[in-house]
Subunit: 153 residues, 2 copies
């Protein structure tokens, strides 16, 4: 990295930049609506996340610029002797910084945060169409032990 990355909880002022990153993606471009003003559904979701102590929307910043995002959900389960898990979702980096290690630092920060919250496991799913993503996560130490099943409602 040329500049040091800083990580923090996203504020409502970051939302425009976050949605822009989500929309600038092979799969995201088909399902997001990056418009001005932002659709209310994004603002409602931000408020729901921001008011929930078990959800954290995290941005990676280079100086004042938001260059990456991820959401971490902390969930208490009865399984594994009542263990908490961290689930990482919605990981994206700004296209102009790709290949510079922002994604790696983002996930490492998420793993650190999961430990800090006392989780015994950190988990995520990645679309089988994203072949590079699977290798990226495996390099970071994740193991693809599970099938990730989805059903659209």
């Amino acid at each position: 990295m040329e500049n040091e990355l800083k990580f923090r909880i996203a504020t409502i002022n970051d939302l425009d930049r976050i949605v822009a990153m989500l929309a600038d993606d092979v799969l995201g471009s088909k399902r997001e609506r990056y418009e001005q003003p932002l659709p209310d559904s994004y603002i409602n979701a931000f408020n729901a996340i921001n008011s929930d102590p078990n959800n954290e929307l995290i941005v990676a910043c280079e100086g004042d610029e938001v260059v990456g995002v991820q959401q971490i959900t902390f969930t208490p389960y009865i399984t594994h002797q009542g263990g908490w898990r961290a689930t990482i979702e919605g990981v994206r980096t700004l296209s102009s910084v790709r290949g510079k290690g922002v994604g790696t630092e983002l996930i490492k920060w998420g793993i650190h945060r999961a430990k800090e919250r006392g989780c015994h496991l950190v988990q995520l799913t990645t679309d089988k169409k994203r072949e590079d993503a699977l290798r990226f996560y495996e390099r970071l130490g994740f193991v693809a032990t599970h099938e990730g099943l989805k059903m659209k409602l």
Copy 2:
């Protein structure tokens, strides 16, 4: 089903039965501790789930008997235009009722509940070692589009 199944939010009085079901499982037997009294970690997890409006621990009952369990987590995300998802975890049925469709009814109830909560997607991961489970979920309409990655902390 011989008797009608009823579904409800679990209470602390169901916890012993739930942990017994989790421990009576090929993978669960290695990681749970079904003892009397129950380890505090289970009780703490139950209380954390029970006090969180975005987590529901659901039991299936035949008369007064608990015969199945699942946990549903409702999560707001920025992705998919700020859509909510339901994640199903910790699905188990009493060994004496297996093959009688309790699991199917349990998951169908979970899908119904996810719709009721306004989710656009219901998701779960299943261990690749549970070959029957993958087919079970696919029959119910889930699609294994994703890899499920885990990292123990």
